[in-house]
Symmetry: C3
Subunit: 641 residues, 3 copies
C-alpha cells in the first residue's frame, strides 16, 4: 500500500515547493494529489490559461520522485464563469438558488456548465495527459458533498422530464407505474411533471424515487463525460473519484463501474459527530470515531469498484473544521486508521492535507504540517505507518466470510418512505455490519448484482426492491442467510408487490408479511437479552419462530438456511441472530473486547483497538507487529496460522 498527501501548491510561495516535496518523500509518501480546486489559477480569465505555475509545481514534485494524482477542477468554477451563466447554480429544496462563495456551486443538469466542465477537463488533460509524473486522475471532487446531488432547478426539471420520457415511453405507463390515479395526480404529458419539492403534503413516493434515480444518473453521466476525455487524452492512467462518508445521494456502484479505482475521504471524528450515532458512542469514541466508520466504508467502496481497486485519498490527520465539535484524534489513531485501510486492501492512503492552510474555510482543518510548517502530530504517525507498511509488505488476500448486500436504491426507497422516522437501509446495513465485526468476521459490502460464491454467509439488511438476479443467487446459495425487515416489500416502482412482502424473496423464505408497523424510540418488545424495536414485520409463515419476545412478538424467524429478522436489526438482537447464522455457516464468531476489531487476510490477522482502555486479544497466529495487549489506539498484526 502506498501513502500520499493532498497538496495545494497554489496556496504557498513557489519557493516552498521543493522543500515540501522533499519532506513528503522523506516521510515515506510516494503520491501527491493536486489541482482539483485550482481553476481560477489555471484559467484566471475566460479563455486565458496560466499553465506556468502548474508546470513548475508538477515538475518540482516529479523531481522529488513523487507520483501525481491530478484533479479536474470542476468542483470549483470561478466567479467569472458563474457570472456568465447565473442559472448554473443548483436550487435547494426551498427553491433558493445556491450561489457563489464556497464550492460545488453548479447543477448537474445545467447544459452550459456541462460544456464548460468538458472544456476545462480537456484543457487540463491536453496539457498533462502524457506527463510522466501523472499516474492517476481524479474527476471533480466529492460529488454529492454539501447536499449537491439533488437540484430543483429549471434545468433539472427539464432534464427530469426527458429522463422520464426515456424511462417510461408514454405518459400512461408512468401514471400506472406511479399509481397517479391516487389523488387525481395523473399527467397528460411528460411536460406536466414538476419536481417533487414544495408540494402541499408529501409527493408521490414513486415520484420522489424517480427523481432520486434521475439525480443519481445525472452525476454518473456528468462524470462519464470527464472520464471519456481523460481516457482519450491521457492513456494508461487510472481515473478515480473521491467519495465521501455516509453520502448516498448518488449510486456509488454505478459510478464505480466506470472508474478504474474508487477512493474515499475518511474523516472518522467528523462523521461520528455529524451522523446519528448514540450519545454513548459519541462520548466513548470522541477521539477515535466509532470503530466501524472507516471499515464500513472501506468494505463498501471496495465493493463499488469494478475490479476491487480502492483507496483512501483523504485521511483525517488531526482535528477537522467542519463538524459541530472538532476534537483531536487520540495519539495513534492516524496510524491505526492507515493500517486498518491496509488490512482491508487499500492501494493508497493519502492524508488531507499536507500543510494546514492559515486562511479561508478550512483554516482549522489540521494537516500533516502545521501552518508554520512544523510537523503536526499526524506526520509522525504517518511516518510510523510508512515504516509499518514497509515492514509488513503486502497485506495479503482477504478471507471471504460474510457478504452484506447494500444498494443505494434501497437507501432512497427507505428515505422516501421511512415509515418510522430516522431509520433507513444504510443504518440497517451499518447496524448489521457492526454486529458482524464485533463477532470478528470479515465482511464484504456488495451490490445486489454481485457474485455470492465463496461466502459462507449473506446478510440482506434491508432491500425493499429485489433484483431477480439476487433472488437466483440467493436460491443457489447454501450458506446462512439473514434477511432484514422491509426486504422484498416493494416493487421497482415503490409499490407493494402483488403477493405482499417479502415479494420475490418468498422464493427463498416462504412467508407473507401481513403488517408492518413502526414504533417510537423507547417502545419495545423485550426478549431474552434483546428487544424488538422500531420496525416490526408481522409474518404469516410456516417457518420456525426462533426468537420470541415475552409478549409473543417474533423477532426472528428461521426457515432452512434463511433467517428473517422481523424487527429493526439493532444491538443485541442482530448480534444474537448473526452469531447463530455464522455458527451454522461454519464460521467462528467470537466476542471481541469492547472497541476491538479485527480483519483477516491469508497472510495476516490485523487487530485494532478503538477503545479507551488496553485490551487483551487472543488470536491465533504469531505476533508480527505490536502485541496481544492492545493499548488504546493500538494495532497488532499476527501472521495467519
Amino acid at each position: 500500500m502506498k501513502l500520499g498527501a493532498c497538496y495545494y501548491p497554489e496556496h504557498w510561495p513557489e519557493d516552498m515547493w521543493a522543500d515540501d516535496a522533499r519532506r513528503m518523500a522523506d516521510a515515506g509518501l510516494s503520491r501527491v494529489r493536486i489541482g482539483e480546486f485550482a481553476w481560477s489559477r489555471i484559467e484566471p480569465e475566460p479563455g486565458v490559461f496560466d499553465w506556468g505555475w502548474l508546470d513548475r509545481a508538477i515538475n518540482t514534485l516529479h523531481a522529488a520522485g513523487l507520483e501525481i494524482i491530478l484533479g479536474t477542477p470542476t468542483a470549483t468554477p470561478p466567479k467569472w464563469l458563474a457570472d456568465q451563466m447565473p442559472d448554473m447554480f443548483a436550487v435547494d429544496v426551498h427553491g433558493r438558488s445556491r450561489g457563489f462563495g464556497s464550492r460545488r456551486h453548479y447543477c448537474f443538469s445545467h447544459l452550459g456548465y456541462r460544456a464548460e466542465a468538458a472544456r476545462i477537463t480537456r484543457a487540463v488533460a491536453q496539457r498533462y495527459g502524457n506527463h510522466p509524473a501523472v499516474v492517476m486522475w481524479q474527476t471533480d471532487n466529492e460529488y454529492g458533498c454539501h447536499d449537491t446531488t439533488i437540484s430543483y432547478s429549471d434545468a433539472a426539471r427539464d432534464a427530469f422530464r426527458f429522463w422520464l420520457a426515456q424511462r417510461y415511453g408514454d405518459i400512461g405507463s408512468l401514471n400506472t407505474a406511479w399509481g397517479n390515479v391516487f389523488w387525481s395526480m395523473e399527467y397528460r404529458g411528460f411536460d406536466q411533471i414538476e419536481l417533487p419539492n414544495l408540494t402541499v403534503t408529501e409527493a408521490n413516493p414513486a415520484h420522489w424515487l424517480a427523481f432520486r434515480r434521475f439525480s443519481s444518473d445525472q452525476v454518473i453521466s456528468f462524470d462519464k463525460a470527464q472520464i471519456d476525455i481523460l481516457r482519450e487524452l491521457s492513456p494508461n492512467r487510472d481515473v478515480m473519484h473521491n467519495a465521501m462518508g455516509f453520502v448516498t445521494d448518488y449510486d456509488h456502484h454505478d459510478l464505480g463501474q466506470q472508474l478504474d479505482v474508487v477512493m474515499w475521504d475518511s474523516y472518522p471524528l467528523g462523521f461520528l459527530e455529524m451522523f446519528p450515532f448514540s450519545d454513548a458512542d459519541k462520548a466513548a469514541y470522541v477521539r477515535q470515531g466509532h470503530p466501524d466508520i472507516a471499515a464500513f466504508h472501506h468494505d463498501l467502496y471496495r465493493g463499488c469498484a469494478a475490479d476491487g481497486r480502492w483507496g483512501v485519498i483523504e485521511q483525517q490527520p488531526g482535528p477537522v473544521n467542519w463538524a459541530r465539535h472538532n476534537p483531536a484524534p487520540l495519539p495513534g489513531m492516524v496510524r491505526l486508521w492507515t493500517l486498518e485501510a491496509m488490512a482491508h486492501g487499500a492501494e493508497l492512503v493519502s492524508y488531507f492535507r499536507w500543510r494546514q492552510a492559515p486562511f479561508a474555510q478550512e483554516q482549522m482543518h489540521a494537516g500533516l504540517l502545521r501552518p508554520d510548517s512544523q510537523a503536526a502530530p499526524g506526520l509522525d504517525e504517518a511516518i510510523q505507518a510508512a515504516s509499518d507498511i514497509a515492514d509488513l509488505g503486502e497485506a495479503g488476500r482477504p478471507i471471504k466470510e460474510v457478504a452484506l448486500i447494500f444498494s443505494y436504491d434501497a437507501e432512497w426507497i427507505t428515505q422516501t418512505q421511512p415509515q418510522g422516522e430516522g431509520l433507513s437501509a444504510l443504518w440497517a446495513a451499518f447496524s448489521i455490519y457492526t454486529a458482524l465485526r464485533e463477532a470478528g468476521l470479515n465482511v464484504d459490502i456488495i451490490p445486489p448484482r454481485a457474485d455470492l460464491s465463496g461466502y459462507a454467509m449473506v446478510a440482506v439488511p434491508c432491500l425493499p426492491a429485489v433484483p431477480d438476479q439476487l433472488v437466483s443467487a440467493l436460491k443457489a446459495f447454501d450458506g446462512s442467510v439473514i434477511i432484514g425487515p422491509r426486504s422484498g416489500s416493494k416493487t421497482d416502482e415503490l409499490s407493494i408487490p402483488a403477493g405482499l412482502a417479502p415479494g420475490k424473496l418468498k422464493a427463498l423464505f416462504p412467508a407473507t408479511v401481513t403488517r408492518s408497523e413502526s414504533l417510537r424510540p423507547g417502545t419495545h418488545h423485550a426478549g431474552d437479552g434483546w428487544s424488538a424495536t422500531r420496525w416490526l414485520d408481522h409474518l404469516e409463515t410456516e417457518a420456525e419462530a426462533e426468537l420470541v419476545a415475552e409478549d409473543g412478538m417474533v423477532a426472528c424467524w428461521k426457515s432452512a438456511n434463511v433467517r428473517y429478522c422481523a424487527a429493526w436489526p439493532e444491538g443485541a438482537l442482530i448480534a444474537e441472530i448473526a452469531r447463530r447464522a455464522a455458527t451454522e455457516a461454519g464460521l467462528e464468531p467470537v466476542t471481541l473486547p469492547t472497541g476491538v476489531r479485527v480483519r483477516k487476510t491469508d497472510t495476516y490477522i490485523f487487530a485494532f483497538n478503538y477503545g479507551n482502555e488496553t485490551q487483551q486479544v487472543t488470536l491465533r497466529g504469531i505476533e508480527r507487529l505490536g502485541s496481544s495487549a492492545l493499548s488504546a489506539a493500538g494495532v497488532a498484526v499476527f501472521e495467519a496460522s
Copy 2:
C-alpha cells in the same frame, strides 16, 4: 348506528367491484363513500367527462344494497387545471407557492378555482343528484388538512382587504380597533394592508386574529357554494363534510351550521404521535391512542352539528402511514373505537379504507382488506362491531351532565398570543375534558352560543373573548361553573378589556386579574397533591381562596357557584377542582381505573378500557355486553338502571 367504508373503485380493476360490494355487505357495512379524489378520472381532459366508470361503480355498489356517500372531488384538482391557473396554489408562510404533486393544492381565495370547484360540483350533482343509491354528499375533503386553511397568496391578500373593508367600514375604525397607533402601524386605506406574515418581528395580534377569522370565513363560503349547488340539484340528500382531529384553523361551529351532518376522521394512533401528548402518555397508549382523543372529537363535533347529527366517516382500521411512527392498534381497538362512537351518538362509523392501496402516498395505510384482498385484522373487528351494534340496537339518549365551552376563536386568540409557549385554549379544553372523563362524567363540548339548560355543570376552560350571550346564559345558570385562566381577558378585537380580565365575566365572578404570568415547564407552585403551573392569573377578589399553594399562590378561587382556576388546568389541579364542582352540582364523580372511560345514555352505560391491563369496573346496571372485568381494549355495556 350504521357502518360503512371508504372505497376507491378507480383504484381497482372493474371486475373486482362486485365482489368488494358483496363482501362489504356481508361484513355488515351498509354505506360506502366514494369519489372524493376522482376528478382526473371524471374529467380527464378540460370539459371532457367520463361518467361511464362511475355510473357502473355506483350501480354495482347499489346492486349490493349499499348506500352511497358521494364526494365532490375539489380537494384534488387535476394537473391540467393547475396549469391553466398557476396562481391557484396556496402560498405558505414563507411566501412559497405550494405546488402540484399531492393534494389540497388550492387557495380558498382564488376566484378562478372557486369557479372551477362550482363547475365540477354542479357536473357531479347533475349526474348523480337524484340517483337512488346516493344518500349523502361530502363536500371536498378535510378542509384545513396539511395546513391549508391559511394562504399568503395575492388572492388571499386581495380578499382579506375586501373582508376588512366589509368588517370595519372605514380605515380609521380598523386602526382604532387594532391599536395601530402602536409602532406607527396606522393605515390610510384598506389597500395598504398586507398579510401578517414575513414581518420583522411579530405583527399586531389583532391583525393576525382578523386574518385567522378571514381565513376561516373563506373556507365556510367555499363550502357554502358547494352546498347550495348540492341542495339545488340533489334534493332530500344530506350534505356533510369530514373534519380532522385537532385541526382548528377554520371554525367548525360555523361550518356545522350549514351542513346536515358533521363527520370526522378518527385516527387515534396517528394523532397520539403527532400532537403534544406527554412521552409517558405516548408510551402508555402507543397502540390505543390517548383514551380521550376519539371521545373528545365525538363530543366536539356533535356540538358543531346544527341538529347534533354526526359520525365518523374515516375510522383508523390498522396502522396509518403519515405519523412519524406508525404502530398497529392493540387487538380489539378497532371494535372499541367503533363502539365508543356509538356510545357518543354517532349515526355512522365508516372505515378508511376498504382495501389498502399498494401504490402512492398512502400505500402503508392499512385497510379492512390487505392489498392482496385478504382480510386485515380490522375487518374481523368491524364484523364483530356490526354484530354488537345489531345486538344492542339504539345507543340511547345521552345523559346531560357537563357542558364544556369551546370556541375556535378562543383557540386563534391563544395561538396568536400564547404568552406561554405551547399552550392554547384547545389544550386547556382537552385537559379539563380528561379530568371530567376520568371522573366518569358525560361531557358535551359546545360553542359559547349554545343552550346551557339541562346541564348540572359548565366548564369554560379558556375563553378570552366572551360573547354577551354566554354571559347571560351563565348568569342564569345555577349549576356549578368552572372558569379557566385567561377567560374574559380580551375584547373581541384582542385588546385588554377596560376593566381588565375577566372582563364580561366579572358579572359572574367578581374579581380583577391584576397580572397574568407564564412559567416555563418545570417551574411550579406546589399545593396539596397538585401544583399551579404554566399560566398564572393573580386576582383581586373577595372570593374564597379555595386551593392555595404552600407559598400562597391561589390556584382556585370560589365565589358562589363559580370557581376560577387561576393556573393552567392541568392534571391533579383540575381534577380536584372538577371533583369539587361536580359534587356540588349533584353529579357523582368517580375515580375510574387507569385507562378506563365510560359514557352514559338513558339506555346503557358503556365502558371502555384503553389501558394495557385488565381493569375491574364497578358500574350500576346489568351486564349486557362484555363483563365488568374489562380486558385491555375491552368493551362492556351495562343496561342503565
Copy 3:
C-alpha cells in the same frame, strides 16, 4: 441618579396626560422619554405634519416639571413611506423581504430610507430642538433588535461592494487578505462580490467577517447622520441611543464614541428565558434573572460610552410579553434592579413603560400602571427606589479592580468560526464576569483600546484578533492577567497568524498553541474540582502548568504575571483561575453566598440578593440601608470604611 418613565401620549386620550404627568412627578420620576414610535402621528400623510398633539404633550409634561427625552421616530416608518419605496425593507438570510407590519422595517443601506430618516429627524429637531423641556435625544430605537443589523438586500450588496473597495483598494489585496485562492474563490473586481448568504456550504469566514464589519458600520453611519442633525438643531442637549441586551451585531463601542450617553434596555427575566443559560439557572432565577445579566450590561455599556455616561432607559417593571414564558419579578426585584444600576454608576433608570397598553403587540407587557391606570406592583417599588436614592445621595466613585476586555469584533469572529457550536467571545466574557462577581470583585468591561491604568487585574476572555495597542498596554501592565482560549489566534483578516496562536500575545505569554480542538458538551478532562471542557488549546511553552487534569491536559498555564486558560472558561475552572490571579494582584476575592452580588464605590458597598433564600453577608462598613441579613430580592448598602 434620576428616575424616569417611557410614555406614549399618542396612545392615550389627551385628557389623561396631565394626571399622568402629575403622578409621575409624585412618584419621584423626573424624566420621561416620548416620541420614538410616533411617526405616523407626526406626519400622517407625506409632507403633512401634525405637531399640535406633540406640542401639547410636551408642554403638559413640562408643566409638571418633567424633563423630556425625545426620540427620533425612525424605527417605525409609516406604511405610506414603505409603499413609496418597496425595496427599503431589509432582506433576511433566506432572501425574503422583511415587510411592513411591526417595526424596524428598513435596511440600513437603503439610500432612500436614509434620506427619509434624515428628513424626519430634521423636522422633529427643528420643532423641538430648543424646547426648554427637551434635555436629551434618543436616536431611533434599539438598533439591531429583531436581528435587523444585517440585511441581504440589493442595497446592502451594493454598499458592501463600495465598502470593500474603500477598505482594500484593489481586488488583488482583497483576494490575498481573504485567501480566495482557496476553492477558486478569487474575484476579478469588487462588482463580482456577493453577500455571503445562500452559498452551497459556508462562505469564506473572511467574507463573513467583512460583511459583519460593514453591517456594523452601516448602523454607525446611519446613526451619525441623525446625531449631526440633532447637534446642529438642538445645541446643548445630550444624544443617546438605547442598546439591547446580548445584542452584538453592531459595534457598541463605535456607537458609544459618537454619543453623549449610552443607555440600554434592561429586561432580566426576558433575557434569562431567551438566552442560553442553563436550565438550572433558568429554574433558580426565574423571577430574578441571572444575577449577572443586568450588571454585565451596566459594566459593558459604561465602557462603551465616550465619557462613561450611561443609564437604563427601559427597565422591566413586571412581566414582559416577548419571551417564550413571561413570569413576574419577585417582589422587590424592580427596586433591586434600580439600585444595582445606581451602584454601577447609572445617571438614569427609566421604566418601560408608564402604563401598560391594552392593545397591539405589547399589550401583555407590564407598566408601572395597569391598563386601567391603577398602580401595578412595579410602581410602589419605583417609589421606594426613589426614596432610597434620595436617602443615599450620590452613589460614589467606583473602585477599580478588574478590567475585562471585550470587543464586538471578537464576537463576530467567534460566531463566524465557532469551531465548537454554541460558544463565542461574548459568553466567554460573561462566564469570566460571573466568576469575578461571585468573588466580590468590581469589573469594568472595556474595549481593547481602553486605558488599563488603575486596575489590579486584566482578563482577556477571548480576543482572537489583538490590536497592537492592547499588546503594548498589557506589556506595560504589572497586575495579574488572565488570557482566555483562542486569544491571539487570528489576524485582523481572520487568518491564522504566521507564528500561530497566541500571535501578538506571544510578546506577553511565550507559547505556541499547536492545536485547538473542541469537544461536545459532556466530554471533559477532570481536574481537582474543575474540568477542562468545550474549547481546548494545546500549548508548547516553557510556562508553568498550573492546573493539570488527571489525564495530563493542562487547563491553566502561568508565566510571570500572566495566566493562560487553555479550556473554555467555565464554572469552577475559571473561578479557581480568577481567585489565584486576584489574590496575586492584591485584591481580596471572597466567596459570596449563592445569588448574592456586591458592587463597591468609594462611598458605599452595595449588596444584592438575587437568590430565593435569605443570605447573611459579611461586609466591612456600617449598614446604611437594609441589613446584612439579605432577604430574597433584598438590597443592603454599607458605608465604605
